[in-house]
Point group: C3
Chain length 679, copies 3
Amino acid sequence: MGAPFFGRLLHGGDYNPEQWLNFPEILEEDLRLFREAHINTVTLGVFSWSMLEPRDGEFTFDWLLEIMDRLHKAGISVILATPSGARPKWMADAWPEVLRVDAERRRALFGGRHNHCYTSPVYREKVRRIDTELARRAGEHPAVIAWHISNEFGGECHCPLCQQEFRRWLQKRYQDIGKLNEAWQTVFWSHVYDDFPQIESPSPIGENGLHGLKLDWKRFVTEQTVDFARAEIQALRDAGSRKPVTANLMYDFDGLDYRRFADVLDVISWDNYPSWHKKEERITALDTAVQHDYMRSLKRQPFLLMESCPAATNWQAVSKVKRPGMLLAASLQAVAHGSDSVLYFQMRQSRGSFEKFHGAVIDHWGGDSRVLQEVAETGRALECLSEVCGSGVRSDVALIMDRESRWAMQDAAGPRNENLRYMDLFLRLYGAVRAAGVNADILGEDQSLDGYRVVILPMVYMFKEGFAEKIRAFVSGGGTLVATYWNGVVNDTDNCWLGAAPHGLTDVLGLRSKELDALYDGDCNAAAPVLGNVPGFTHTYTCGTFCDVTELTTAVPVLAYTGDFYAGEAALAFNRFGDGTAWYAGALFEERLYQDLLRVVLRDAGVQTDARALFGGSGIPEGVSVTSRARGDVRYVFVQNFNRFAVRIPAELPQGAEVLYGSFRGKLEPLETLVVKFS
Amino acid sequence: MGAPFFGRLLHGGDYNPEQWLNFPEILEEDLRLFREAHINTVTLGVFSWSMLEPRDGEFTFDWLLEIMDRLHKAGISVILATPSGARPKWMADAWPEVLRVDAERRRALFGGRHNHCYTSPVYREKVRRIDTELARRAGEHPAVIAWHISNEFGGECHCPLCQQEFRRWLQKRYQDIGKLNEAWQTVFWSHVYDDFPQIESPSPIGENGLHGLKLDWKRFVTEQTVDFARAEIQALRDAGSRKPVTANLMYDFDGLDYRRFADVLDVISWDNYPSWHKKEERITALDTAVQHDYMRSLKRQPFLLMESCPAATNWQAVSKVKRPGMLLAASLQAVAHGSDSVLYFQMRQSRGSFEKFHGAVIDHWGGDSRVLQEVAETGRALECLSEVCGSGVRSDVALIMDRESRWAMQDAAGPRNENLRYMDLFLRLYGAVRAAGVNADILGEDQSLDGYRVVILPMVYMFKEGFAEKIRAFVSGGGTLVATYWNGVVNDTDNCWLGAAPHGLTDVLGLRSKELDALYDGDCNAAAPVLGNVPGFTHTYTCGTFCDVTELTTAVPVLAYTGDFYAGEAALAFNRFGDGTAWYAGALFEERLYQDLLRVVLRDAGVQTDARALFGGSGIPEGVSVTSRARGDVRYVFVQNFNRFAVRIPAELPQGAEVLYGSFRGKLEPLETLVVKFS
Amino acid sequence: MGAPFFGRLLHGGDYNPEQWLNFPEILEEDLRLFREAHINTVTLGVFSWSMLEPRDGEFTFDWLLEIMDRLHKAGISVILATPSGARPKWMADAWPEVLRVDAERRRALFGGRHNHCYTSPVYREKVRRIDTELARRAGEHPAVIAWHISNEFGGECHCPLCQQEFRRWLQKRYQDIGKLNEAWQTVFWSHVYDDFPQIESPSPIGENGLHGLKLDWKRFVTEQTVDFARAEIQALRDAGSRKPVTANLMYDFDGLDYRRFADVLDVISWDNYPSWHKKEERITALDTAVQHDYMRSLKRQPFLLMESCPAATNWQAVSKVKRPGMLLAASLQAVAHGSDSVLYFQMRQSRGSFEKFHGAVIDHWGGDSRVLQEVAETGRALECLSEVCGSGVRSDVALIMDRESRWAMQDAAGPRNENLRYMDLFLRLYGAVRAAGVNADILGEDQSLDGYRVVILPMVYMFKEGFAEKIRAFVSGGGTLVATYWNGVVNDTDNCWLGAAPHGLTDVLGLRSKELDALYDGDCNAAAPVLGNVPGFTHTYTCGTFCDVTELTTAVPVLAYTGDFYAGEAALAFNRFGDGTAWYAGALFEERLYQDLLRVVLRDAGVQTDARALFGGSGIPEGVSVTSRARGDVRYVFVQNFNRFAVRIPAELPQGAEVLYGSFRGKLEPLETLVVKFS
């Protein structure tokens, strides 16, 4: 099934009219302000369970249907949410099994949200029933365009039901307890299991050092959550709905392997809450871009920006008001990276409780605010960009970011435990690709590498079965590989690969890792160009955090360490393998190395970009983002200036190109966006 | 009932002879040293329960009565404490219900102090019995001058008995569960209650986001504690005692709303433990002054300094020895702000356990120490100031500091969560009043504003029902209001007031708050004088933390922001309303702004001070505190130099003035105190 | 019983072939690499319980015996470990009582290691049985040279069985509950006990302020652990084994009083994991030296270095690779201080679980690494130094470091709670002794002072019964005492000594402590030479943290404070007492003071050192360690350069001296070691 096509870029967000049923004048005013703000879509029903089923089996849908009618009449579409993100108190009181048990084996009291056992048959049955009712009574309403399953899935439960299910899952995975013991190396510290029923989930007051157990527990939590989502979708389908389904994912969320949701959901959506203005906007924009690309790459299809904040959030230590223009720039950045929507949490600020100060399109004052005006401006921009809806993103470059590998790496107990600086490394590599105006996909190890020209492996600590072979084939077939330190260390069950590292790639890279030195945060080394190095590097780059000391076989050194007992050893090297090339960058270098390296890599790999047509030989100024979407031969190139100063666009508008949004006048003001259509 | 009059300034403190019953020579030596140290009062019985009732229903009062006889013979009065601050182990063993249950629902083991359920009928009955015995056997002893109830009330209990009592309290408050749902906005996250028995107290492992619940829980804890205190007092009264009753309160204690104790206690007392010498003494002195004024304002009567440390404390990270003169200055500061006593914890250092190194009048060495000499000097000073006893404090200025509002604000989850810097703002405003030598009262929202000329609202986040109306009446009747950002945001149940903010005061202030920007700690803005501003401000003041962006209606701008997207908008403005004036200070400014602003405000409001007679036009030097007590036409003006250098007193001794304590010689040495009597 | 004599310096370490039983080629390769690395000893059986007794009562020793045969054939000795450091899961499942209960009274789940109740009769019985089997089946194998009991004893259990045992232990100690109440000062906060069964172990959710209880609990935990070790040893002896027994202790371990193990173990061993290269190596070397000396002094016999890391550890925040030469220098440092072994954890890196990246002689790569080469070099050095084996260490200087005193001091709640800087003070005093090339013993209060010339008391907070008398006798008999602030404050049960402090030594020192001032970390004072002071001090030394203000009787001031209200009072003083001398250093001074003071003290006390023969009058360069072992008239002087630069050795090789290891050529390179034999 391809990505669902909504026909227009969606603009709106989470709306909770059930908080205002006693204020009919406010519900009326909302519609007027939605119109003014160019809103075309709202999400209803998130956390509405108490209002839809106030007592077990008693349903009240009238208020919902009435609101939907009025929205529909106003031309506003509805994304309908299942209410399973928070359950009513009557359920917790009658069936305590729906409450989670934490890793210390304490049953939670009722409270908060996302607080239910995904295994509990009672909970699953209650969810199935409300979902069925919802689909039957409201699902076919003409306003409805999609389903939104639960809300921000996350968390884990250690109750007896989950323990049982975990053991069943393990038994299916390993069949034989001997295989599990081998896979988890339980002989270490005498933790050998005689049988599956002996196994308990990891706990700070119990087993906490068995890496294989901890990794499999995380896998199980993902599988159980996916299974829960699958059951919700099935309930909707059984009730006859065929509308596309999404669930809202979260920023770099560590609790679940989102890759496992890709096959279950019709469209990926996510909630994006950057701390704009905390760091320079260009830094925050790059960080956000990674997440957009990661979400898009899950299905390699357009996604939805399901939540974002129109004003200031309320849960950060300090929540700055968004500066004028920031909302528009951030919203269009999502579209530039593949989103078919700009949706907000929330349409109207609630009066009370935990999120009463979370920014909203309509605030407590309730009038025509600056925020409302900026939302309206964003709405007009989206209308202008309407034809972009449904177009894809083409990337020649893939970076591997695998959640299971990251789980294992975080739990490694290795040379550095304090701060692996994984994201620093990732951002430097990603940023170097993006600085060239080149799109990038961000993939799990299981995704196909077909069609890419460059593949980058930043600290892919775990090489799962078959991954090394896939990389070998990619390089020998003519691809370019860029690998870093701390690659290919462990296998699927978090046991170290024996023999030379990176596992399976030592001939591809023409070297092996001998010793991985960890540096204290204040420590520093540097890498200087080797005389006559092929790519012609001339600078010396500082490096730190990790310095890999390697033994070269066929690889050619480019940079060599200048300090410590491994001075003179290769810090950067490349190797020809089959028809391809493989680079090894052995330390965490300063940003500039990655920029210089990727410039060479992308050029040699023949990666093209429309950015060249706009910025010519001088290159894209730092802080300017160039991203493109495409449909057939048509390319929509988004140029955004995330600097706090204006930048020049030196070129003329290329032939065949036209301005779809913004103005082409030789420069871009801070936070300004320009969209050029090439066809 | 007016404040009890003790006839002399009390000097002494907590005394635990029960720790020394096996050391008769030490008990003898104590009396000799008390005499040497000019001690006239001791507190007996705090934590003596085990010694008074070693087994359930077995009482041993002989040792106590014997000590009281000897003290009385030595001219030393006794404040008699009920022992309910810590209970014997036999009680916890026989009735575990007396032990507290914490928010995670864990029943405590026996240990520590302040560890009992205030609801438990068993505990209440045991307390009633011991209090009755104490009152009957010792309460009418001629040495006794007052009762001291329990010790430093605090803490909360989540046991089933407390849950039940909480629900009963809520039912009485809201009558109808629908009203409670509305008040707490339970529809948010689907937490609607069907009935009162469903409600549970807040918990980190349960409900923790429902602001209304959390606020009402804190109110309940206060009410339950007050009720417990009331029951203790009733036991004493039922046993026939008519002596005045106090309970010792604590520094800026967040756990209870002390306003609720004002009606229950005959006299307020508190325990004061500043970290002298950690910061400059003038800074610590100002911080301490706030607390003295807050305590005095609870009943607007003289209070008692119930505990203070004659030497170094033992529970701070670093406890510096008090420098020579510090004890005297700190003790007289209490009297200056309205205390009729200087009492210490403790008279003699215990040999063992948790407080064995807490400073005392008599230390382990047991001899004639520097501390003992300084205590004696303080005793002589108090004898010299004897006539001050019972006199009041008159203030033209009131600052609002409301515990319930602070509770709500801390829990707000708003623009800043890390550090609201409430006390920084409060101290800058309070310090600006005190720098002018003007007394200040510190009031809750429920206290009367009659007779004040200036009322200051520093971050009064919660405007309870009727509060805005009281302020309106105050200003329109000719008063001067100084308000800051983050005023009038929520109502009594922590729901946001809808419409313009500050709630109910936008016409009084002539403006409304549009956006409250939060700044990171490193961020900074500034406010520059508006051309031709009426008060004639000429400086530019830095500001940060919060910057309120306002829309002015009738207000006149005085300062305008110089930076960010709201540059040029008003940062300080004033408005005429009725016969009064209202100022709005929209950001956290540097100290100087508040000094400059209050100088204008106090002058325009016609606030007088005797400080002018002593320091003339040049004003009071920084670090010098001028405070006054009054009885009829007589004023006792305390001048204290908290600087580390001497300061000049430029004026001659005014006519009709006489020196009551210290010497008038044109200057004050560091930590020196001068008391001048005007009549 | 004297120290066991192993005939050669042991070289090897922990070996876990049970992790590799499915990899016979690896077990084969291990033997080859052991040979290459000059390995002569391995420790087997640590954590092997699951492999030795896979099900209750089913034993499988074949794999172990086979390995032992092969090792023996290769000339490799075996230290055989009892497996009680971690128990199999079947035992926890069948007898939950073997699982620990923490201070919050939560029973642990199965997991980790060192997780068993030392009291549990079931656990003790299971341990006795496996130990008996082990001794019978493998203990008499010719490869076995010693027993290794359990692994890194530590931790505590609060289960009902332990509570009962604790009460029994207390009853035995105090006989009468009244004596216990007096000893613990339970009258404070009304915590008086009626009888022993009322007592509960300390808990954060119960009793946590009764110092006497907390101290006795720690004592009990030690006693119970020692008793457990004793039972294990008894099982081995009952099974007929006469091999010497050790247990591996840990770096400055706070959980147990290791002094209590001295009589139980035949030889002390310990695990040494310094963070080399985190600070300068000379600093880390000094810190490590303290621990070596402490361990050696426990029995005043040679000890074993049981574990150390041949490469980088894996549990520190940052684990740097050991620089070339570091392993050799660190290993020889252990020998220099009295070790008869250099043993590593671990021989081969495990594939999985928590310690898979802990450095090992053989790593995952499995080949001939730099680490393996440096291990081999260390092995060759040990062979060269073989005759040193069994020789002792002679010290004229003793420093008192008493665990019970430290426990009490940490819990004191006194003038400073944040950071007492105990180890800073200790290291400055110890470092000053070592800078003179003089050996030092580090003793508990109960050890004999016979034969020492100088005794140093750094913050010996607790003076146990009889300790002051021992010090008095030592000084009056001609010894030299160096005492600091915070000495002799409390007695054995943590009650303050009444009267003058330091308890029992005021006439020895000729002074008493009046006030102990605590300084904030930023604060500073200084001590300047008193005019005409006897030792002729001429410098002014900064000081801080603590400044003791004393009253001198017969003592003569040497330095006087320059600042604060006690300026002019003595900061350093000395006193003649009987035939000896006593120094009092009242503050934490900069390092230099201690160097200058000890130079005078050692000279006046007539302490000799061979260092003088090598370095002459100019003294030992900073960062160079000179340590000696001795047997009869023969002295082995180890000279090690822990600087990052070469140092000169100015003297010729003295007559009668010969070079046993290294080369005598007028200088020492960084990390170089020279061993000179004097006879």
